[in-house]
């Protein structure tokens, strides 16, 4: 079977939802972050798929978008890990289900 746009999109969607599932279920903050990275990857895959397949006046914008997402992902990861370290310094854990100082 020749893979078409649906196939790539399906992989993207599944990857996205896997990432979402991971970020919703993992206890460790770094695990959650991994889920987020997977979601961003899925978005990237989707964008590149569209760039490749969709009839578009300006197909390069999908690629551009991906470049920025990559950048932002890096920045986000850096900040996330820095925050994780900061939390760890205070609490000696980065398990998000134990981060519940703030609650009503």
């Amino acid at each position: 079977m020749t893979p078409g746009i649906e196939h790539f999109l399906t992989v993207g969607a599944l990857l996205f939802c896997l990432g979402l599932a991971i970020s919703l279920s993992k206890r460790n903050a770094i695990g959650v972050l991994m889920g987020v990275e997977l979601m961003l990857n899925a978005v990237n895959l989707t964008l590149i798929t569209f760039s490749r397949f969709a009839a578009s006046p300006n197909p390069v914008s999908g690629h551009t978008f991906v470049v920025f997402i990559l950048t932002v992902a890096a920045a986000e990861a850096a900040v996330a890990l820095a925050l994780a370290v900061a939390v760890y310094r205070n609490r000696e854990t980065i398990d998000v289900d134990r981060l519940n100082l703030l609650r009503s």
Binding site: L9, F16, G19, L20, S23, L24, A29, V32, L33, G35, V36, M39, L40, A42, V43, T46, L47, T49, F50, A54, A55, S56, P57, N58, P59, S61, G62, T64, F65, F68, I69, V72, A75, E76, V79, A80, A82, L83, A84, A86, V87, R89, N90, R91, I94, V96, L99, L101, L102, R103, S104
Partner: protein, 485 residues
């Protein structure tokens, strides 16, 4: 008109951020001047913005990805003002906290630049990057405090924010896939040309966009981070969050939903979604605010409820023409009013909380006796949040409700006004504690000059525009008229 000119305000703010960083390194002894450098950058941005006012009112640059119109101008003023107030309100806190100051101010300015860029962004990529430019420094700022609560707030905010922006991105990707472009008017054109057959996909994309923006707006059900982050983050940062990113989210939402997703078969959907979310946000936000004992949490829930009021306007803009103008200008008016009011409240809270070392509402007892100025300012802002004249909050609510009535959303207005009653209960509860409670200590204290300036400015705005709302209203209306064309 070249790009540099159009982006002058953002550039000057970013330059100020750089200057602050460098100045700190070069002249470590002159730290007390840093905030004023930052303010100078904001002033430059504001002046630059002003320089456009006389000139044309609609310019697109960079192949249509960025637009300069009065809408952007309006928000740039708002963001400059908000940032300036936050900086003024931060001075004491930053001095006390003892951390490096230049970075703090630089990050605040970066956020401001991101917000300003959002106001003019008209392209999904630019919107995304501007949104992140304002968000990522905010995550850092939320975790800026040295205590565990602040770090926790920062991490929570970041993780949820990342999930939300992933959802937003996926929605944008789908939108791009259907239309083949990222530029808003082109998206609209593509949808007009035959988008109805893609309705399912568009609805999914729209839903994801609502989730992404809804997170920033802090509306139900994307609001749950709000109270935790407000409570944990340093109070000046919470103030910034409550006003800045919320306003920006609405600024961009009006553009995206009206300019890109304005097709009839979509607008009827999203306006109903916004209406329902508005009703739920107001109700839940207010209900949950009632029992809060921490003033920052209370303000957090109240900001959820207020976001519901903004959304009333957003629900009313589905039809082009006068309805759109009323609804959108209502949101803008509300943004400005809310900026004055909520910032004023937060400034007072910053000053009081630092002094009494507590955020508990019960500890605000007798504030009227220990610090009449702060108590009066806070009370006045709370009255404005309730929507009682002569405050700007009254006009904002009135205007938005008026727009909703004209959009045939009477049921939403009924819910909205009834929610005002609930909100009066807890806002006035704070006033009651401050004015009637017996203070723990009889010792009077005064606000620092910077706080005094910030509070006076915001409270004066609340009062002045409460009596003469006309300039603000016409500014808001002028701002949205360009979109309606």
């Amino acid at each position: 008109m070249n790009g540099i000119d159009v982006l002058g305000p953002q550039i000057s703010v970013l330059v100020a951020a750089g200057v602050v960083l460098v100045a700190d390194a070069l002249f470590p002894g002159q730290r007390r001047l840093l905030p004023f450098l930052a303010l100078a950058g904001l002033l430059t941005a504001a002046l630059w913005t002003t320089s456009w006012v006389g000139r044309g009112d609609y310019q697109t640059v960079f192949d249509g990805t960025i637009v300069l119109d009065r809408y952007a101008v309006f928000f740039q003023y708002v963001f400059a003002g908000v940032t300036a107030t936050v900086i003024l309100a931060s001075i004491d806190w930053v001095n006390r906290e003892g951390r490096r100051q230049s970075e703090y101010y630089a990050l605040v300015l970066t956020v401001c630049a991101g917000l300003m860029l959002l106001a003019g962004a008209r392209d999904l990529i630019t919107i995304f990057i501007a949104l992140e430019l304002s968000s990522i420094p905010q995550y850092i700022l939320a975790g800026w405090g040295k205590d565990a609560k602040s770090s926790e707030a920062g991490l929570k905010y970041l993780l949820l924010g990342a999930v939300a922006s992933s959802l937003l991105l996926y929605g944008m990707a789908l939108l791009y896939g259907v239309t083949g472009t990222t530029i808003l008017p082109e998206i609209a054109a593509a949808i007009e040309a035959g988008g109805e057959s893609y309705r399912a996909l568009l609805v999914v994309a729209m839903t994801l966009l609502i989730a992404g923006f809804g997170f920033k707006m802090a509306v139900v059900p994307f609001q749950m981070w709000v109270p935790d982050v407000y409570q944990g983050a340093p109070t000046p940062v919470a103030a910034f969050l409550s006003v800045g990113s919320k306003a920006a989210a609405f600024a961009v939402a009006i553009r995206v939903f009206f300019e890109a997703l304005g097709a009839d078969f979509l607008s009827s959907d999203w306006s109903m979604i916004f209406a329902v979310i508005a009703a739920v946000s107001m109700t839940l936000g207010n209900l949950m605010a009632i029992v809060q004992s921490d003033i920052k949490r209370m303000l957090g829930y109240s900001s959820v409820a207020q976001a519901g009021n903004f959304l009333v306007g957003l629900a009313a803009i589905s039809v082009a023409g006068e309805e759109f103008i009323l609804g959108a200008s209502g949101i803008l008016l509300f943004v400005a009013a809310y900026a004055f009011t909520n910032l004023g409240a937060f400034v007072a809270v910053i000053a009081i909380s630092q002094r009494i070392n507590s955020d508990r509402i019960a500890d605000y007892a007798g504030m009227w006796k220990t610090s009449p100025f702060l108590a009066l300012g806070l009370a006045f802002c709370l009255v404005s949040l309730t929507g009682i004249p002569p405050t700007v909050g009254f006009w904002a609510k009135l205007y938005v409700f008026n727009a909703a009535v004209r959009a045939d959303l009477v049921w939403l207005v009924v819910i909205g006004v009834l929610n005002s009653v609930v909100s009066a209960y807890y806002y006035l509860g704070v006033v009651r504690v401050m004015f009637l409670g017996e203070p723990g200590t009889e010792q009077r204290f005064r606000a620092s000059p910077s706080i005094a300036v910030a509070l006076t400015a915001t409270a004066a705005g609340v009062l002045l525009f409460g009596i003469l709302p006309m300039p603000l209203m016409s500014a808001a209306r002028d701002a949205v008229e360009v979109l309606a064309r």
